[in-house]
């Protein structure tokens, strides 16, 4: 079996080198502005940093995929076009895009550079994917984390491009590119500004009995007793109440991470061409450990060996993991 490409997060130049050294086939990264979906303080690349990083990655035969995967607001497309032109000049191997205008700009102006359809485009069926392939010559689709492996296999048989799926990291519950929850609470948009639960509006407060409330903007996202660890207040991982239930419950999902290590053979057999590790906002230590472990695991599967995966659980959010939508339709 041909080993699929291992696509790894590079939130900073240091993380990029770490991922390259740990065996990434490709790294993905973005510029320090709203043009990418992880527009967080302290993350991402300046032009000079990306230039050096591309040289480093290519010297180690690692590809660099540039995420330009947010949606430019009306009247502001030039920032996105500049990001694309800069990426092209620095020699990135592919652009990851979601917006039709950005895709069209690349197809017209940089037709020799590969176009990958971001998960933010929410293409979850063969017709949507075929549309983007036909219109813009998309070479690879990053599938939303909402499909089972048999469904992915069925899609693979119907589309004219490669498939990339997430295998590890944050487990977003809402269809990416179709979530305005952060904007509803904070006034900053995930699609337009590239932020999800921005840290500047996060607050942890403790009451007299030691309970910690986590808040985002004006809203309480969770409240934990002193015996529990308070998670980051992501709206879709919070606890809420509703008349049909007694007490607070995780209305959308628990704070939990995706880990498909044990499903690698199935995913590879289903025709997945690239495996994506989430976590551009995570530390170098995280990147090193996760990328090394998956490098080994993917090679083992490709050689027909049993997967011996180091314990990745300690790195997962809330120290809990799930196979999410991939394992069974019952997740829905």
């Amino acid at each position: 079996m041909t080993a699929p490409e291992l696509v790894c997060p590079a939130g900073t130049p240091a993380a990029l080198r770490t991922a390259v050294d740990a065996g990434a086939d490709a790294v993905y990264c973005g510029f320090q502005n709203a043009t990418n979906a992880r527009n967080f303080p302290g993350l991402n690349f300046s032009t000079a940093e990306l230039e050096k990083s591309v040289v480093y990655a290519h010297a180690h035969r690692t590809k660099v995929l540039l995420a330009v995967n947010t949606f430019p607001p009306a009247g502001q497309t030039s920032l996105w076009k500049d990001a694309v032109d800069t990426g092209a000049r620095l020699g990135v191997d592919a652009f990851i895009v979601a917006d039709i205008a950005v895709a069209q700009y690349i197809a017209l102006n940089h037709p020799d550079i590969r176009l990958h359809l971001s998960v933010q485009a929410a293409a979850s069926n063969p017709e949507s994917i075929k549309y983007y392939c036909r219109e813009f010559g998309v070479k690879r689709v990053v599938l939303p984390r909402i499909l089972t492996v048999p469904e992915i296999r069925a899609i693979a048989g119907e589309i004219p491009c490669e498939i990339e799926t997430f295998i590890f990291g944050n487990h977003g519950l809402m269809v990416e590119g179709r979530c305005s929850l952060t904007n509803y609470v904070t006034g900053l948009s995930t699609n337009l500004d590239g932020v999800c639960s921005p840290a500047a509006q996060v607050e942890y407060t403790q009451d007299v009995s030691g309970n910690t409330s986590t808040r985002l903007g004006a809203f309480t996202i969770d409240c934990v007793s002193c015996a529990e660890t308070a998670g980051y207040p992501t709206i879709c991982k919070g606890r809420y109440t509703t008349p049909a239930r007694d007490g607070g419950y995780y209305a959308f999902e628990e704070p939990i991470s995706l880990n498909l290590a044990s499903m690698l053979p199935e995913l590879m057999a289903a025709g997945v061409n690239a495996l994506k590790i989430e976590g551009r906002q995570r530390s170098r230590a995280y990147v090193k450990k996760v990328v090394s472990a998956f490098r080994q695991a993917v090679d083992q599967v490709a050689q027909g060996k049993e997967v011996q995966l180091a314990n990745l659980l300690s790195l997962t959010e809330g120290q809990k993991e799930t196979q999410g939508a991939f394992k069974s339709k019952t997740w829905r």
Partner: protein
Amino acid sequence: MTRLTLGPILFHWPAQQKIDFYAKIADEAPIDTVYLGEVICSKRAPFFEQHYAKVTERLERGGKKVVFASLAEVMLKRERKMTEGLCDMQDHEIEVNDTSALLHLSGRPHRIGPYMNVYNEETMAYLAGRGATHFSLPIELPGKAVEVLCQHAARLGLSIEVQVFGRASLALSARCYHARAHSRIKDNCQFVCEQDPDGMPLKTLSGQDFLAINGIQTLSHTCLNLLAELDQLTDVGVSDFRLVPHTQDMVGVAQIFRAALDRELSAEDAENKLGAKQFPAPFSNGFWHGQPGHVRVGRSHDSPSI
């Protein structure tokens, strides 16, 4: 010219309730365009399919234009078939809410719905080049961006629609949160969403009203209300004003918005009349003003929305 439109019913209302609702709209509401079709959950679709012909006929007899809206999330075989079948219809316009429909419709005139990510003029122009004539814009788009889009739309001969009333759709998922709240899964949901005809309320642990659940969809708790902004919307070039159906007196709501658009009612009188309809949630207009969506800008004497 300004047109008042009625968006698709987002919630799972019993078939008879929908039939009665549309009969009343056909006869009494000053609405120009009605969007029909199940946009949220393909499992609900069969309950109403056999009624579309009659409902369409009734609405058209009442002088309404009928447009069919496509599913916003397409994953399963039946959803792909539903979308393809809808796009095969030749006698009515289609509103596209997922790119899958674009594959079928390219080259034919169609509308782009609010679930499509049309945030800028170049995306709009691209879709117009493939047959799109009318754009219902994403809910979170601020007024400034709407203005730019309207300028380009005017040049291209396109019409622009903005939601002005009803809960705001905030997110879609593959998971059914209605089923989850009742410890079920989507495949065995037993249509529990029928219990919440305006959405299932979610409160925060400190008791704040927060969100409303509608199957795979998450909506705002607050009710979008752009009555006070109607002049701004018309000034920038918005031509179509969408009301999202709720169980409240929608004929009355439509009459208030129509009168406000026609300047037969002052913004303040219209506000007071709408307030008297007692929608069980505060109003919000934050998205239009580039603020958090839940807030209400410009009405400092109102109680806060949370």
